[in-house]
Symmetry: C2
Subunit: 264 residues, 2 copies
């Protein structure tokens, strides 16, 4: 990880004082609807927490989206809530134009310690290799959808919502990686679990907005492509959860997230 990679450049912080940072929210992480992808905005908050809490890995990150993020300057305030022996809890707020756009509570710790008590019930997504998959965007750019210029996606077959034939099945499995070769680490994972498309688009809806996102970071990812499994089980009265798993190139679950979202 170097400062020259896009994700690191675009989440860079200038320290104002011990618990305040200045950031620039760029237009390079635009999603289908809002000008700023929620995961990218969260990446700024997670980075501020990581710097302040002085623990290497985010373990649990809960983000409440209060207002749409805006391209432009932002201030990040961080509050050390509880320094514990094993975990440290902190809270960060992103303020833009004097208004709070995002509030994050998170526990940080150390995923380098392994105690061996492991029991895994599920397997990684059963995907063809990235080389035998299809480029989601076929190399095209889309107005406002700058996120796809930052992240490469490889799908076994083009999703139904892309080809105008939604499948009726709100789920997806695909590969993902930063386009500029930045390798994954635990800091970027809470952002990447929001970097997919809303799988409810397979139900024919236009899109969906994140209200809250909780990400569990479970292991430090190995270099390489990340395998994603996304699923919505319960759309009820326009509100739904979306579950997002990321598995690394060695077949280890590295992040598990759930968001609560509302249809456009």
């Amino acid at each position: 990880m170097t400062a020259s990679h896009e994700f690191d450049t675009d989440t860079a912080l200038d320290r104002i004082d011990d618990d305040r940072y200045a950031a620039q929210v760029t237009d390079r992480w635009g999603a289908l609807g809002p000008p700023v992808n929620g995961g990218y905005l969260l990446g700024i908050g997670v980075r501020a927490l990581q710097q302040t809490l002085d623990r290497p890995d985010p373990l649990v990150v809960s983000a409440f989206y209060l207002r749409p993020g805006q391209v432009g300057s932002a201030e990040v305030t961080v509050d050390l809530v509880r320094p514990g022996s094993r975990f440290t809890t902190g809270q960060a707020s992103i303020l833009q134009g004097g208004k709070e756009t995002l509030r994050v509570l998170a526990n940080f710790g150390d995923l380098g310690a392994h105690d061996g008590r492991t029991h895994v019930e599920d397997d990684p997504p059963d995907l063809p290799s990235p080389e035998r998959c299809v480029d989601l965007t076929q190399g095209r750019s889309f107005p406002g959808l700058s996120l796809v210029d930052r992240i490469d996606y490889r799908v076994p077959v083009s999703p139904g919502w892309v080809t105008g034939t939604p499948s009726g099945k709100p789920c997806a499995e695909f590969w993902m990686r930063f386009s500029d070769g930045r390798e994954p680490d635990t800091r970027c994972l809470p952002s990447l679990v929001d970097a997919g498309w809303p799988v409810v688009m397979e139900l024919g809806v236009r899109g969906s907005s994140t209200v809250e996102l909780t990400a569990h970071v479970r292991a430090r990812p190995r270099p390489g492509w990340l395998a994603c499994r996304v699923r919505t089980r319960y759309l009820m009265d326009g509100m739904h959860e979306e579950d997002f798993e990321i598995w690394d190139s060695a077949g280890t679950l590295v992040a598990q997230a759930r968001q609560f979202a509302v249809l456009a």
Copy 2:
């Protein structure tokens, strides 16, 4: 719902001023390990938020457990974070002995509005009727485990950890209801998703402590028994998620929760 029911009595609040309440944490909701069940403690925070935010239903509740809850007096502070057109976001902290034991961020709204955009992929737990199930505790009391005097559990067969033969399968399906006849509502659901036993006990471990709990409340429950589905898929280095679904007597998903926990 009347004040005479145990859950309501034991989460009652005395208003100190506009954003502070006094509460008494009782010894009537003790779990296997800690003296105070985390879900019960959360119930005090949710009630304070409901009173302050003036919206009927919690929709998303994220709770960070900072220190073990203690039997005795507590102060609850509430912060109105963002009053929105559809949702209102608030934060509550529970303080005991001057220290913060729990911090909660939540969105409240109105689940009485139905827009009809619904697509449900999964079915309720396939359980025999409560009458044909087994009482988990067989009417016995257990020292420190006062929770089972407040809540009735009905299981198809006694779980392996109860009979000393853990199944190796960290999952469970069962019925639950308040013992005193209090009917479920949306306010109690963020508490009830933490009122089961840790299903990792089917792996032979002694127990588990909640670090963070996120609950989505999806619908207002009908009266009657609640059907629960609990599962842990990924125990990794002593840390695990636990997913908890609650379905009402009409077969509607009313709550979906995930917690991040660490083995004892």
